[in-house]
């Protein structure tokens, strides 16, 4: 047992070693060596994770199903204890498998995608990518809030490094900075919440913290608990791109496409959901905080979906779609359906990684073209990519029986049965919008008539094996991935739900069940959301199905709406005017203050010393005998004082 747990400590350490080797010996990495090394380390982590998974399910079911071990005491000051300890329970296990599994596939894909880069550039890329896997695993496996925060910051750093990977392009460097700074705002919330948690409950190690939360003296819904929960959620807003901190994620598409798939779709951006699920016992004690989470998530789902409708960059569409889907997950958490949220994280990891990698294959084949208005009819040139892309899209729009259908439907169903009918309505509307922009995306890239220049069309080349293999695996997962969490109405076991039940038992106990609901309600809701999805498809087909003429007519007819949406509601401009520019002005003001006051004081000190120096210089004649003379004078004065 002991041996095994120490073995699992290697899960995060192996990718760290990979990052160190690629980062330090980048001169020695010839050809694809760096890529193979990075893939091997993540594969090793994945294998260990699978071993851990089987050990975990071998344990008796229930709250005892946890592997928890401490490597050493990291920080112990007074009663404050933050060990370097790891905890594998069903929740972290789910993320562990997603991060290492999908992470491995994306590493393999990257080998092909980055093949045109310089060798040193490739080893830098894979060093960052491995470092990201390490940080993400620390975030997920850490058994206390501080260790989680370490991983939280680590993934933020790697995200920054990889967004601005092509740092010689100005917009990439700026996008990286934007992501980093916006994330800092959220991180302040996380830090404050951690400190407040320690001050209130006296423990930040999860098992102890959850025990402390069971204390009957604590009054659920008290102001302190609500504040802590909302501060945690502010942290999640930053990392998981929710209103009002979502603005960094669309810009983050400046990074290489596999990075968008791994960090900005499948894993890092779901860290906020993970944190909320991890802290579910706390959130369950504050219904108002949960309501806030649900409302923000729902608003984000709709808002980002609308923006996604008119984006022209293939990756931007997917980015807004990611923001929107993350909104769904928060909505699930907000109505207390933690399992549904995790389920959507899992399926989303499959199909959104697939869509990003598919779009990467398209961009790769078109030598860097990202504008969907300049694509079209790619299914003839890239049939394989078209099939997997279509599978991912059907999963994203929630078409039965693809993965997204089950998870999205579970969320909508949970919202409905917790009597949040307005949120449910908006969620269904957002599902329709999702279907619309998904259809538009697939149609404009893959079918219809080709809108690219002839010479560009001739140069299209199919993706190499290292890229197509991960695509097919993810496509299969996107098709069948939904069956791990089949809704109860179908009468089949909900594998994921049962697996995660012990983790959320404490929260569910506090929130209370929603009671039994007839399966007919569930089928009715499913049918309804399917109808909405099909309507979305149909409307998109009406607009885009017969060439571009009709969409152009529509955008002229509703030019105001079109202008506002395609400019993303001018949110970036508003932030610039309200936050960025005043901050710059303030910085300029304080900068001048710094120049006058602080620098003035420093220069004054220097000036005084300088003047004193000029006076004292008189005595420094350089003539030894004059020094001797002054020594004797000094001695006489000293004697005279003593004899005084």
């Amino acid at each position: 047992m002991i041996l095994n747990e120490n073995l699992y400590t290697l899960i995060p350490l192996i990718p760290l070693a990979g990052a160190a080797i690629n980062g330090l010996f980048w001169r020695k990495m010839a050809g694809n060596v760096s890529g193979y090394l990075a893939c091997a380390t993540v594969l090793a982590s994945f294998v260990l994770s699978v071993m851990a998974f089987f050990q975990l399910i071998g344990l008796p079911a229930g709250t005892e199903r946890v592997i928890h071990w401490t490597v050493y005491d990291w920080i112990a000051v007074g009663t404050f204890k933050a060990p370097l300890g790891f905890m594998l329970d069903p929740l972290s296990m789910t993320w562990l498998l997603i991060v290492t599994g999908v992470g491995f596939l994306i590493h393999v894909y990257s080998v092909g995608y980055m093949a045109h880069e310089e060798e040193y550039s490739r080893s830098r890329y894979f060093a960052y990518l491995n470092l990201f896997i390490f940080a993400m695993l620390m975030l997920v496996m850490g058994d206390n809030l501080l260790l989680m925060f370490l991983g939280w910051e680590g993934v933020g750093l790697c995200s920054y490094l990889l967004i601005s990977f092509f740092f010689d392009k100005n917009f990439c460097a700026e996008a990286g900075q934007k992501a980093f700074i916006v994330n800092r705002i959220g991180d302040v919330g996380f830090v404050l919440a951690t400190v407040w948690t320690f001050a209130t409950f006296g423990d930040i190690v999860f098992p102890g913290l959850f025990e402390a939360l069971k204390e009957p003296a604590l009054h659920p819904g008290s102001l302190a608990i609500t504040c802590i929960a909302i501060l945690f959620f502010v942290g999640a807003m930053g990392k998981s791109a929710q209103i009002p901190l979502y603005v960094w994620l669309p810009d983050a598409m400046a990074g290489p496409t596999p990075v968008s798939a791994l960090i900005h779709a499948a894993t890092m951006v779901t860290a906020g959901i993970y944190m909320l699920c991890r802290m579910s016992p706390l959130f369950a004690m504050s219904p108002s905080a949960l309501e806030f989470v649900a409302i923000v998530g729902c608003a984000t789902a709709l808002f980002a979906g609308i923006i996604g409708l008119l984006q022209k960059d293939i990756k931007k569409v997917l980015a807004y779609s990611t923001v929107s889907q993350l909104g769904y997950m928060f909505m699930a958490v907000g109505v207390g359906a933690f399992t549904a949220g995790v389920f959507h994280v899992t399926t989303h990891a499959f199909f959104k990684a697939l869509l990003f990698l598919g779009s990467g294959a398209v961009i790769h084949a078109l030598h860097g073209e990202q504008d969907i208005m300049k694509m079209g009819a790619l299914k003839k040139k890239l049939p394989g990519v078209f099939i997997v892309f279509a599978a991912g899209s059907l999963a994203l729009s929630g078409f039965i029986p693809f993965a997204g259908f089950f998870s999205k439907d579970e969320i909508l169903f949970s919202t409905f049965v917790s009597h949040k009918y307005v949120l449910w309505g908006i969620g269904v509307l957002a599902a329709g919008i999702t279907a619309f922009y998904t259809f538009r995306l697939v149609h404009l890239t893959c079918s219809g008539e080709s809108r690219m220049p002839r010479e560009a069309a001739d140069k299209i080349h199919p993706p190499p094996k290292s890229m197509s293999l991960p695509l097919w695996i993810l496509a299969i997962l996107s098709v069948v991935g939904g069956f791990i969490g089949i809704p109860a109405a179908f009468g089949l076991p909900n594998i994921l739900g049962e697996f995660l039940e012990p983790t959320f038992a404490q929260a569910h106990h506090l929130l209370g069940g929603h009671g039994e609901h007839s399966h007919s309600t569930e089928f009715l809701l499913m049918g309804f959301s399917m109808a909405v999805v099909i309507t979305g498809f149909f409307l998109a087909w009406l607009v885009y199905g017969k060439g571009m003429a009709r969409s152009e007519r529509l955008s002229e007819a509703y030019s105001n709406f079109h202008r506002i949406v395609s400019n993303k509601f001018y949110v970036d401009e508003a932030y610039n005017a309200v936050v960025v520019r005043p901050l710059r002005k303030a910085a300029d003001f304080f900068g001048r203050g710094d120049l006058i006051v602080i620098d003035g004081l420093v220069n004054l000190t220097g000036g005084i010393v300088n003047i004193l120096g000029i006076i004292v210089r008189v005595f420094h004649t350089g003539v030894v005998r004059s020094y001797a003379f002054w020594i004797v004078i000094g001695m006489i004065v000293a004697l005279w004082v003593i004899a005084g």
Partner: protein, 101 residues
């Protein structure tokens, strides 16, 4: 104790005065160095005289200690003089004026 204490003190004051005068007026660095030694030994003589006068051996031991340290200091001082002579090619302290502020 053949002579009274005053004799020793006067002698050491004379020695110290000669040393000080030489230190101030001579320009040869070796002579200046010898003058420093002279002043040091004048002080030493005072200590030994007082020790004998009070019948305390501690003073004598201190004098021995000072002589030992003075030997070490002489070695260092001579070494410095040698290297500065190599550098400047002269023993005249008035030529050593790089430290002018």
């Amino acid at each position: 104790m053949a002579y009274p204490l005053q004799n020793y003190l006067v002698l050491s004051a004379l020695l110290f005065g000669i040393g000080m005068a030489g230190f101030l007026y001579r320009r040869n660095v070796i002579v200046m160095f010898m003058c420093v030694e002279l002043m040091l030994n004048a002080v030493n003589l005072t200590i030994v005289a007082f020790a004998a006068h009070h019948g305390l051996n501690v003073g004598t031991v201190y004098a021995l200690l000072i002589i030992t340290v003075a030997a070490a200091e002489a070695a260092v001082g001579l070494a410095i003089i040698i290297s500065i002579f190599r550098l400047k090619g002269t023993l005249d302290v008035d030529e050593y004026d790089q430290m002018k502020g």
